[in-house]
Symmetry: C2
Subunit: 248 residues, 2 copies
């Protein structure tokens, strides 16, 4: 048995997230079934760096899995390419040290949230953006977001019903920028050592209030200080969120 590190990209639209408690189409179930078929292994247990919610996309989700597979990792990747459905692909496969674990070995993660703020919807981007009908001020959003950079208790931005040992995380980078080629595309990039449940989507929902002018630039810092989820803005929709990269 060898340990493999698989890097996945998936379109979240038709998945009920990475993992789900009921019988639904999840990335984990589809991947495990396909790996079991390829390796003829009875039980395959794939561990992702973190669960992505239903509808959330991944450009670089990382999975650790122990497999009864003697051939090169590249051969495994090719076999997966022909067996996996059209909305899931393994972009990299490599053998990892036996102690590699997708969750505990991770040192950081990078997310991107995409907003389309054109007056007219873009049918080709609807599946991959949150469409905000009014134009947002991305410069003021960027300035407001800087209040979140650094080590803080982010409990104001954590969805309720998800107790963790600590709500303290360190955001090493947060930026809001408009696409240089597309006048109506806004990217919110956030890198941290870890994220709380729905943290990025709650940050984005709050930043959009600032970008619309509904709230003042200083509001984001005020939410953070209150350590109360009720202080923050609404959770933004899942289809704009991409897990970009996991660091090890």
């Amino acid at each position: 048995m060898r340990t493999f590190k698989l890097t996945l990209a998936y379109v979240g639209t038709n998945f009920a997230g990475w993992q789900s408690q009921v019988a639904q189409r999840t990335v984990q179930v589809v991947l495990q079934q396909t790996l079991a078929k390829i390796t003829r292994q009875k039980d395959v247990h794939a561990i992702a760096s973190g669960r992505t919610d239903a509808g959330v996309h991944a450009l670089g989700q990382v999975v650790s899995v122990v497999l009864d597979w003697e051939r090169p990792a590249e051969t495994l990747q090719r076999a997966l390419a022909s067996e996996l459905p059209r909305d899931l692909v393994v972009i990299d496969a490599e053998e990892a040290p036996p102690d590699f674990h997708a969750i505990t070995s991770a040192t950081g993660k990078q997310y991107q949230y995409r907003i389309h703020d054109g007056r007219v919807a873009d049918v080709f981007r609807r599946q991959y953006t949150w469409h905000c009908f009014t134009q947002l001020d991305e410069a003021v959003m960027h300035r407001a977001a800087q209040a979140l950079a650094g080590r803080h208790d982010f409990s104001s931005f954590e969805a309720t019903g998800s107790p963790r040992r600590s709500s303290v995380r360190t955001i090493s980078h947060i930026s809001v920028s408009r696409d240089t080629d597309h006048e109506h595309l806004i990217y919110i990039d956030v890198s941290a050592d870890g994220f709380l449940y729905k943290m990025v989507r709650t940050i984005v929902g709050s930043l959009v209030e600032v970008g619309r002018g509904t709230q003042d630039e200083s509001w984001i810092g005020q939410i953070l200080a209150q350590q109360d989820r009720n202080a923050a803005g609404p959770t933004s929709p899942s289809q704009g969120l991409f897990l970009v990269k996991v660091d090890y």
Copy 2:
């Protein structure tokens, strides 16, 4: 009754093309039903600049339609925005002269075909590109394509079973280029005064043979000279094709 010119964008994936003979979900049916609902008009007949096949996308399809609508065109567009399904949007609506007709008034059209030639599939582009697993030589494809520029009989690139009065068309521009930001995206842009049935897809299928090195650069000109569909390469899949613009 007033004549309107509507410009549509749609994701072709879940449409059986613009028009279809059997009871299927077509762009025409969805648009006409929605217009009938909004205007409370019994019969709405929308005419597109040309039929797009099942799976083909549009960035700027143009439709002419006569409507019992007294309010501004912009109000009609807003009403359509809230009623149309997520894969169809009216990006522009304006009143047109009574003699405006989407087919007969058109003077030219522009199509773009998109190819992804990365070794690993891109799940986010699969719906919008033809995935060619081997890397293509876009420079040789571009040179080969220039044999098609100008006024020619394109019957070699016309799908069988589609007799037209003439197979002569004028291609004013044809180019093959690689995206400056994305190393595996290739665009084939073609502008002409009109197109034969499946003409762009047959041109692309033939150019890819050249790009793969299966056929020589001079092959495209040889196909053209033969005026025989059997001389050309295979028809490329519909999901890579975009109707970009119709000129009037």
